[in-house]
Subunit: 400 residues, 2 copies
Amino acid sequence: MTGADVIDRCQALARMSESADCITRTFCCPAMHDMHRTLRAWMEPAGMRAETDSAGNLRGVYPGQQVDGPWLLIGSHVDTVPDAGAYDGVLGVVLGIAVVQALHGRRLPFGIEVVAFSEEEGVRFGVPFIGSRGLVGTLDEALLARTDAKGISVAQALRDFGVGEAAARREYLGYLEMHIEQGPVLESLDLPLGVVTAIVGQTRAEVRFRGAANHAGTTPMHLRRDAMAAAARWIALVERAARATPGAVATVGSVHTSPGAGNVIAGEVRATLDVRHADDGVREALVARLRSAAEMIAVRRGLQVEWNARLSQAAVACDAILTELLARAAEACGQRAHRLASGAGHDAMIVAAIAPVAMLFLRSPGGISHHPDEAVNAGDVEAALAAGAAFLGELERRYV
Amino acid sequence: MTGADVIDRCQALARMSESADCITRTFCCPAMHDMHRTLRAWMEPAGMRAETDSAGNLRGVYPGQQVDGPWLLIGSHVDTVPDAGAYDGVLGVVLGIAVVQALHGRRLPFGIEVVAFSEEEGVRFGVPFIGSRGLVGTLDEALLARTDAKGISVAQALRDFGVGEAAARREYLGYLEMHIEQGPVLESLDLPLGVVTAIVGQTRAEVRFRGAANHAGTTPMHLRRDAMAAAARWIALVERAARATPGAVATVGSVHTSPGAGNVIAGEVRATLDVRHADDGVREALVARLRSAAEMIAVRRGLQVEWNARLSQAAVACDAILTELLARAAEACGQRAHRLASGAGHDAMIVAAIAPVAMLFLRSPGGISHHPDEAVNAGDVEAALAAGAAFLGELERRYV
């Protein structure tokens, strides 16, 4: 298969949608049946036996030389956000099938399982990673009982979809996820591929500055307790501090002023904060610094500040050895294997609980994702195909 | 009358409301009939003939020594914002009546007209100063045809209320408005009274910063075009520039982030700007500086900025001689006559088109106004009463 063939397959799958106007494919929706039927029709000629597991994941099994040998898991998710692009998740599954197909039935010292995870985006049930949680065994009763907007539970959705048995527990030597970058880094470096070192940890908080709402005309500057002026100082500092911390990103994406009138000094401002870094210690130190800066700004101005923690998620490191092999594989195909952290979450975060993981990023034109304009270059897909095949070769040499 | 008597009268008028729960009294509402009836009942024993003019203003006429002599206008407005306090506007009318009453029928070289303006707040028709525009003769056809939320025009509202004839045109030697400060300056200086030098001019604008919405995790700091980070720099600068400009106030009271999600870099921010100063040149220079700063910040960051002018209103100077007489009057009563600019608009702005104007501010406890907690100290009202009487004495000495 060529890169263009892989793109054609992704485009074919993009037509399987809940909506006539756009690409939307949530967990266990009817379009997922078409998706599975098509993926099976591609898996089987490549030598895989396809089965749906109890979490709605489609798993294509390509046995190795020994019945009790180890397995390599390759895959990604096939659900989407509403009004999505054609490549987020899906590309990794199609590439996995193509890599196996390129073996032309040749057996390796390990089996390969290509997985199409049923759910990663968290759209239907407000909780992400249902598919990979099912695979690793953390799809618990509480999550199965969770309901969607129509009151249908995860368990009921799975029954209605008609899922299979819990899959046989396999011993995985590793997990490879090939995914679009969904960001601008590789494009800015003019590189087709990147090797992911870690999936960043993340802190989210809501920060409230409380001052005093007052008349914008009659309150002199020195008698104000302006929550927006205080918040502005802090937001500028958030950016400065993140810029000064290599590898960190920090974002104030939403600001709400109250009462929010042009001629009234803001009495309260609510701002969101999102901080990410591949090193949890660096992230926590940065967050602590931003928090004390907010408090200092508030105290100096006679304001109160309230810090509401919303999320603190640890970073997940990719496996050093597997990542090194993946980088060598890419370099063997003539690519520079740029190391970068993933700023977004991926199924690999969950699978890391049961197996060493490695991730290959493909350049995202314009850095665009979660949008109909999401794209991928045929040449970059070709490079990823070659790197995937070379990665199997690297593993083969280690497992002989 | 004592200060406490004046406060009692304001409290009695506060019960005349459109709402059972709070003080709300808009232009020509039924409660305005009770208001007029009560004011008449106070004007007449003080020696005034009360009449409603064609704009719904109640005017109490206290003749001077000569039939064709000049007139002093004293007053303020008797409408309110929704859920108002008891003193904004009303206090100036009650004080005007009390000052005339204190003459005990003695004739002065000029007549006095106490006016209760029908409308100043702009609540019912979205346009302020209907009362004072009526008095000065700028209540034009376009304004009379303007309709409220129920489709009733200003002209119809006046007919329904049952207004009088257009009042006789009088030659005014001046206008005195006594009003609560509605700000914290006098309280911060521990002073009961202030003398207004000017009503500030005002610029309002909406400023849009346009960058690029992007994933908060996958977009490194150096590849962002974060509209909120840019806006924050600018808002901090707005505050700094206003603090560095004596007498200026500048406010960003409302900020709107778009798309406004915690994990998405803001692609667009809309911010309001309100700049006021007693000197139009200073205000315009400050606005120009803020505008070029917004443009510089945007250019440096690869953003666009859009500047939408919303209002540019010139300052109105109080009359220098009348203001000096008012300051002397206050000082003769043992008060320090602190000079300050009014950051809010007042009927005096409109009356200034036909007469020299002077304004006396009374300290606002807590700086609170347009709120049920709006208050005034009895001792401060007493001081204002004395200053008002002394002001008549100052004028008398000049007009003999």
